[in-house]
């Protein structure tokens, strides 16, 4: 698995569009910060973080998901890996590890970029502001990791990158969450199992970050989050085993 992770990191960091995409996002954000003339202060960074990180699961997560998962489908790389004797479970788990590594790296870099940008224009963020930015980054990263893991079922079950990307975007925009909420609100379901919406992944991640804000770990939320990831990986492996590789 380590060899495969090593190879994947090499591939991702050799992809030119990876740098172009994040460079363009950084430029765009920098431009908006610099042209803002009124109301800016040292604490504006926390407002920025609230707004910027709200889009991150789509803007950053969507791109990372496509790079990590969909490139394999487009280039038929899964056939190469399986043909070489790699286990499907290994591939699914390696992708999860890669997702954690890359999201951790990118969201840390985004936070550092925000601090650097604000420092550059003379507003050095306070320690509480730094904490808050990191919490927003953590929340976004946790969402992207679990969304990508869930979409992995579509990736390996259907092996169509278009379906996978559309599903990921619907998930990260909250469309699927809203649908689930609507379903959970039906009398027949809510009377049988009230408060199911508290167990949606978006709410679990909110609980986790609230816990982190208070300096405590919300163990029930952490266990539920882990269960989502483990369940998604297990389903991905099952879907992968059932679906014949296409090439």
């Amino acid at each position: 698995m380590l060899r495969y992770i090593h190879a994947e990191l090499y591939r991702v960091f050799r992809k030119k569009s990876f740098y172009i995409y994040f460079g363009a996002l950084a430029l765009l954000y920098g431009f908006f910060v610099l042209i803002r003339t009124n109301g800016i202060g040292a604490e504006s960074i926390t407002n920025d973080a609230t707004q910027v990180f709200a889009y991150m699961p789509v803007l950053v997560g969507g791109y990372l998901f496509a790079v990590l998962y969909c490139d394999d489908l487009r280039s038929k790389n899964l056939a190469t890996l399986i043909g070489y004797g790699m286990q499907k479970t290994t591939i699914v788990l390696a992708k999860l590890v890669l997702s954690v590594l890359l999201n951790g790296l990118i969201f840390t870099l985004i936070s550092l970029f925000m601090f650097a940008l604000y420092s550059l224009i003379g507003y050095i963020p306070s320690a509480p502001a730094v904490n808050e930015v990191f919490l927003h980054a953590l929340k976004a990263a946790l969402l992207v990791i679990v969304y990508a893991a869930i979409t992995g079922v579509v990736v390996y079950g259907m092996q169509r990158s278009t379906f996978a990307v559309v599903f990921y975007i619907l998930l990260s925009l909250g469309v699927i969450g809203q649908l689930m909420m609507a379903v959970f609100g039906w009398d027949v379901i809510s009377s049988f199992a009230p408060n199911l919406s508290n167990h949606l992944v978006s709410n679990i991640v909110v609980n986790l970050t609230i816990g982190a804000t208070d300096g405590a770990v919300s163990w029930p939320s952490l266990i539920e989050y882990g269960a989502y990831i483990a369940g998604a990986c297990a389903l991905s492996v099952v879907a992968f085993r059932r679906k014949e590789l296409e090439f």
Binding site: R3, G83, G85, M86
Partner: protein, 301 residues
């Protein structure tokens, strides 16, 4: 006796009611260049998919280097090219470096060797800009990476120009003769396989019709006896009963005998005495293509 590197026994793959592979029992021996010949859709790629673990067989067994369990580990001894698959934004060196990491091959020296072998050294442009021929050549390099003892190549000369075909043939023969690498190569271009393969398997509608070595094949393609008569089916049955000869009937309604081609008088007299009207009976030489078509034709009869 040569070591058996790959053996399938009654390998079957069904998609619903359709049998893509029907009890294929194939043997690949160490040092072979095995030519798997079949028309488009005959089952060549499905066979490779099953061997490489890309499709789950519906029945039968596969043994790689003598083991039929832990095939995942055994597959690491196989290099393969089934539709060259590489990352479009990486150049040949980067794509091979990626594979080196996956396959745990030391890239230093190996990448240069392979790029030189397939004449892609110095090519810096990304894979997505490659011509079909360049893609095939990089696919061959990927298959040869790490010097695996078995190489599977599915239609490797598709899209190659005549020079490219000759180069591909040269690489296969050189690797086979100098390194002892065993190849199984599929193609529907029979004349090309005839130049490179040492053994042949003919596949049609998912069934392996025949396995032959090069000498046997040339023995069989060298001569046959062509018979034109008023009742070819009756004549075929008669000759089978009388001499144990299995004839095949061509699309033009001729009966072809693969044995007894050196005894035309005996066959003629027997048919005449049995009351068949002969309009033609003559020995003829057969090309590999004609042999294949005849084999396929008799499998349909």
């Amino acid at each position: 006796m040569a070591e058996i590197l790959l053996q399938t026994c009654d390998l079957t793959k069904k998609y619903g009611d359709f049998s893509a592979l029907d009890k294929v029992s194939l043997t690949l021996k160490c040092g072979d260049i095995y030519g798997l010949i079949g028309r488009n859709g005959a089952g060549k790629t499905t066979f490779f998919k099953c061997v490489m673990g890309l499709a789950k067989p519906s029945g039968g067994s596969i043994a790689i280097t003598g083991t039929s369990s832990r095939l995942g580990d055994a597959r690491r001894r196989i290099g393969f090219m089934i539709n060259p698959a590489f990352f479009p934004y990486l150049n040949p060196r980067e794509n091979l470096k990626y594979l080196c990491r996956v396959k745990h091959v030391q890239p230093k020296g190996e990448i240069e060797r392979l790029l030189k072998l397939v004449q892609l050294e110095g090519v810096k442009k990304p894979f997505k800009t490659f011509s079909l021929g360049m893609k095939q050549r990089l696919g061959l390099a990927g298959a040869l990476l790490g010097r695996p003892p078995i190489i599977v190549l599915d239609e490797p000369i598709n899209g190659l120009d005549p020079q490219g075909i000759a180069d591909m043939r040269g690489v296969i023969q050189r690797e086979n003769q100098t390194k002892g690498t065993t190849f199984i190569v599929s193609s529907h271009i029979l004349s090309e396989l005839d130049l490179v393969a040492t053994r042949f398997g003919f596949i049609e509608h998912g069934r392996l019709l025949q396995e032959l070595d090069h000498t046997d094949l040339h023995e069989r393609t060298r001569k046959s006896l062509v018979i034109e008569t008023n009742d070819v089916y009756g004549a075929r049955e008669f000759l089978q009963g009388r001499f144990g000869v299995v004839g095949s009937i061509t699309g033009e309604g001729r009966l072809l005998l693969e044995s007894h081609f050196d005894q035309p008088q005996v066959i003629a007299r027997a048919l005449f005495e049995a009351g068949f009207e002969l309009s033609r009976l003559a020995p003829q030489e057969t090309t590999l293509e004609e042999y294949f078509m005849r084999l396929v034709g008799s499998s349909h009869a």
